[in-house]
């Protein structure tokens, strides 16, 4: 496939506005300002079928159209707080082509009639923040941002806010409370951010990759965009492959690429010629798939049909030597550390699961622990303000469901089944 989002990344100084503009950058922005009304922009994005790349896959244009016609300031927020384990696509875009994202931001802001846009960038992205500030200055110098942009009468400023390290602030409502200078707690919905978001004004939150698609849709049209990917998941997609593969990295491919092709062709297959055991398809918050379940295409609906989620397309590959109980414990440690603590089930339940899993891997598991874990999952699932609870439950539930014998073994023999297998394999070799 022709590279779209990553077309410039190999070029030297791809983060500079000159390089970006040489490759046709900001033509879409000029076209929008010159020829299009905000409604037309929204309609085109709606028509393109662009779905949010942050994880939920909500149609972007539809989201924009929810902004009410009220006499309040409107805000666009670019969610650059990429922190889902196994996900590193936005980081690449921020590093290599910040102008593509900025062009997406200005067009989206125009579409929702916002005069202020924010980039909420992950605190750990220190270098990327520097690049971003430079890029914004370059835009201003070229007159592409600021007051009365290109004599269109449209004003826009872009402000950069750094996160302070909390995973939860990637969740859009928590991001907005954090942006307001408050503790990063998710907010109850309704009201939805499109109606009442930042400072109780209409706010649209879009992922970096989503916004990066926007200029291309404007330039090349909806038919072109829809010709890439599947019917219900259109456009290009960045897949992050990590774990036990020979060639980990970010791969730009159409929506709906077969997962096997990604792992075995693009990512070079499993390290050391081992066998594949399990794959997390969309970041750590999505249910794990077993070796027999990975014959699927990577688009929102196909992965959902397989009982998991495309999520952020952070694909984590695990080989046959992976101790799934330990892997599960590892993730539950992450979630227990990151729960914001607002809702009872998540605050109390997630750390409880972590403690039980820790006990099991310490050889102190009890037979009733497995059922207890599954029941705690039930106490958390769908009972929290934000999707974090579900995300924390997904690994525990799916690991137990799909690799139950490993958990049973741990409890029965007080040690890892996999390590035992490795020992015996080594003995044979």
């Amino acid at each position: 496939m022709e590279k779209i989002l990553t077309k410039n990344i190999e070029t030297e100084n791809s983060h500079r506005i000159g390089v970006y503009m040489e490759s046709g950058g900001y033509e879409a922005w000029k076209k929008v300002l010159k020829e299009m009304s905000p409604e037309e922009v929204t309609d085109i994005v709606k028509e393109s079928g662009l779905r949010g790349r942050g994880g939920a896959g909500f149609p972007a244009g539809l989201k924009w159209s929810f902004v009410p016609k009220v006499d309040k300031p409107k805000y666009l927020v670019c969610n650059a707080d990429e922190s889902e384990p196994g996900t590193f696509k936005d980081r690449l875009l921020l590093e290599k082509d910040p102008h593509m994202m900025l062009e997406g931001i200005v067009i989206a802001s125009y579409a929702i009639k916002a005069n202020t846009a924010f980039v909420y960038i992950r605190g750990e992205f220190a270098n990327q923040t520097v690049l971003l500030h430079e890029a914004i200055q370059e835009m201003k110098d070229k007159g592409l941002l600021g007051k009365n942009i290109l004599s269109s009468g449209y004003d826009l400023e872009i402000l950069v806010t750094r996160g302070a390290g909390a995973y939860i602030c990637g969740e859009e409502t928590a991001l907005l409370t954090s942006l307001e200078g408050k503790r990063g707690y998710p907010k109850i919905k309704p009201p939805f951010p499109a109606v009442e978001g930042y400072l109780r004004s209409p706010t649209i939150v879009n992922n970096v990759e989503t916004l990066c698609c926007v200029p291309h849709i404007i330039s090349k049209g909806t038919d072109w965009f829809k010709s890439i990917g599947t019917e219900k998941s259109s456009g290009p997609k960045l897949y992050c492959v990590s774990g036990h593969v020979r060639n980990p990295g970010v791969f730009e491919l159409p929506m709906g690429v077969p997962l096997k092709e990604l792992i075995f062709d693009h990512a070079g297959g499993i390290l050391h010629n081992r066998k594949l055991k399990a794959v997390i398809p969309g970041g750590s918050s999505t249910p794990v798939l077993t070796e027999s379940e990975i014959d699927i295409n990577m688009d929102f609906d196909s992965v959902a049909a397989a009982g998991s989620m495309l999520g952020s397309a952070g694909i984590i590959v695990m080989d046959e030597y992976t101790d799934m109980v330990d892997a599960c414990y590892n993730l539950s440690k992450f979630y227990a550390h990151e729960t914001c603590g607002q809702c009872t089930p998540c605050r109390e339940g997630v750390p409880w699961m972590k403690t039980i899993l820790g006990r099991i891997t310490n050889g102190k598991g009890r037979r009733r622990d497995i059922d207890l874990l599954l029941d705690i999952c039930k106490s958390i699932e769908k009972r929290t303000i934000c999707p974090f609870g579900d995300a924390a439950v997904a690994p525990v539930k799916s690991y137990i469901e799909k690799f139950r014998e490993e958990f049973d073994y741990y409890i029965e023999y007080k040690k890892s089944m996999i390590q035992e297998n490795v020992k015996s394999l080594n003995a044979v070799n």
Binding site: C340, C343, T344
Partner: protein, 543 residues
């Protein structure tokens, strides 16, 4: 009007009504922790989940507004919402939340002040389980005094954030916060500064569990030993509505009582601990007559004979020679009887006055509009109305030979100018609960009551007449102030002072004082009644 069905019963509700409150208003118990009608919606405890037809899973009822559906989308052809608060799934959900809330709870109910009125206890009893599946180590944090009025026992905390929201939304001073994240979250003060705002005690009231507890009430008594009585606060002219907890005829604690027209759900700390003003007070338990440098205790009969002897010369009172001083701490009834005496004696206006004088200062107004008045007397308005006066304070012209002063309060207020005026009289009668500076000048001291012993009504500074109920007994030898005044009136030979109870006086006021017409005991009720008066110059406060 939307029509809804909750558990097979129909209710008509206002458009936009909030589901949880609607259910509670209709007597349907929906367990909840973080929801408080006076605060914003947090939705974090997950206890108030209910099933709503057509909505996926369970919904937190605190965040559901009831709207009207278009005709064609009505459920069963007529309902705008169909709710089940008692389905198996709802019950299961409650017990799950309770299990999680109790994981780290110390279950130290035997030594917890909240025990007996604790929502964790109540809901666990109804929806919880008797055994815990949690076998890990519990989270432990030390107790700590957050401020002068409030302690925190973090192990009992369920992090509902009511206290944090209270400080933000009602006080407008975010002194409390959630510190740390997730499992380590803990309620704490900000920047190590004490929780010392004037409304801090309310945080302990609204804490649904025993985490935030009152310093004043700490380990004092079990709540089930309390008898609770309604009255109003008498520590400033706002007149917050109260519930006073009493045991062994002693006030143990004071909590606010909801009155949307006056104090909403709140009260200030001054009022909350104001009852301690009487703690160190040496109460007078019999009338006193001056003798030499000191006083001689006498009986009630003797004192009134003595007063009659001194005042009624030749069987006739000298009109214009008697000064009557009412009290802004006294009830309407007390001041009304004084006015009746003044009228009976045909005293000119200059011989009537109100003590103490105006108290200057600015009100303290909080974010929610709750206010504390600079006037620390509870009934200046009512006393002025009863006495027919425009201004408070002792008139300089009060050069009567005989002066009667109703002290009413228990605060030392005497200034030099007051002392000078009082010293001018030849015969001074002071009615007071203790030997106050004023009483020390008196020839006769009549024992009076402390404000939580009073009965009657008071009018707050926004012209609302409210009921005052004695919550503790008067000490032995002390009569209610209105009874003493009535006897005083009779001693002066004035008629019509035979009242069965203070309510008779209230009802008499309701027919004889202009703007109090119709404001009978019944009309005043437990929440009070506004005067038939234009609300003048009331400062409107934006929320």
């Amino acid at each position: 009007m939307p029509l809804i069905k909750i558990n097979d019963r129909e209710y008509e509700v206002k458009p936009g009504a909030q589901l949880l409150q609607t259910a509670l208003d209709n007597g349907i118990e929906v367990p909840h922790y973080c929801y408080h009608p006076g605060l914003s919606i947090a939705g974090n405890c997950r206890m108030c989940c209910v099933e709503i037809e057509g909505m996926p899973g369970l919904q937190i009822s605190c965040n559901v507004k009831i709207g009207e559906l278009p005709e064609e989308r009505k459920i069963d052809g007529k309902y705008d919402m169909v709710i089940n608060t008692e389905s198996e799934e709802v019950k299961d959900s409650r017990s799950r939340v309770l299990e999680l809330l109790l994981l780290n709870h110390p279950i130290d109910c035997p030594v917890c002040d909240q025990a007996g009125e604790c929502l964790l206890q109540d809901y666990s009893f109804e929806h919880g389980s008797a055994h815990s599946r949690f076998t890990e180590e519990k989270r432990v944090n030390p107790k700590k005094q957050l401020g002068p009025e409030v302690w925190i026992y973090p192990n009992r905390c369920i992090l509902c954030s009511r206290c944090v929201r209270f400080c933000e939304e009602i006080v407008g001073d975010p002194q409390l916060m959630v510190r740390n994240r997730g499992y380590s979250s803990i309620i704490d003060v900000r920047d190590n500064q004490p929780l010392d705002n004037k409304l801090s005690g309310n945080t302990a009231d609204i804490c649904p569990v025993g985490s935030l507890v009152s310093n004043d009430f700490l380990h004092k008594t079990r709540v089930w030993n309390l008898e609770e009585e309604d009255t109003i606060c008498m520590d400033c002219s706002v007149g917050c509505n109260l519930i006073v907890g009493v045991s062994k005829d002693k006030i143990q604690r004071i909590k606010p009582r909801l009155n949307k027209e006056v104090n909403d759900y709140w009260m200030c700390d001054d009022g909350r601990i104001g009852y301690h003003a009487a703690d160190e007070l040496e109460r007078l338990q019999s009338p006193l007559i001056k003798e030499g440098d000191g006083f001689r205790p006498v009986s009630w009969t003797e004192v009134f004979d003595f007063i009659a002897d001194k005042t009624v010369a030749n069987g006739k009172l000298p009109p214009g020679k008697i000064g009557i001083i009412g009290s802004a701490y006294g009830t309407n009834e007390e001041n009304y009887l004084l006015k009746k005496i003044a009228d009976g004696l045909a005293l000119p206006e200059g011989n009537r006055s109100l003590y103490p004088g105006e108290m200057e200062g600015d009100p303290i107004i909080f974010k929610s509009g709750f206010r504390i008045s600079p006037d620390k007397t509870p009934n200046r308005q009512g006393a002025l109305d009863m006495l027919g006066l425009k201004n408070s304070g002792l008139a300089d012209s009060l050069d009567s030979k005989i002066v009667y002063l109703l002290q009413g309060g228990v605060h030392d207020l005497m200034t030099e100018s007051v002392s000078e005026i009082l010293k001018k009289s030849e015969f001074l009668i002071v009615q007071s609960a203790y030997l106050s500076d004023e009483a020390k000048l008196a020839d006769v001291v009549l024992p009076g009551t402390f404000h939580y012993e009073k009965n009657g009504t008071m009018t707050n500074d926004r012209n609302r007449v409210q009921r005052v109920r004695g919550v503790v007994q008067t000490p032995i030898g002390v009569k209610e102030d209105w009874e003493v005044i009535a006897e005083f009136g009779e001693a002066l030979g004035i008629k019509n002072f035979s009242y069965e109870s203070v309510d008779d006086i209230t009802d008499e006021i309701a027919v004889s004082v202009n703007e109090y017409e119709g404001i009978t005991v019944e009309k005043v009720g437990s929440l009070g009644s506004d005067l038939n008066r234009e609300k003048e110059s009331v400062q409107e406060i934006a929320p």
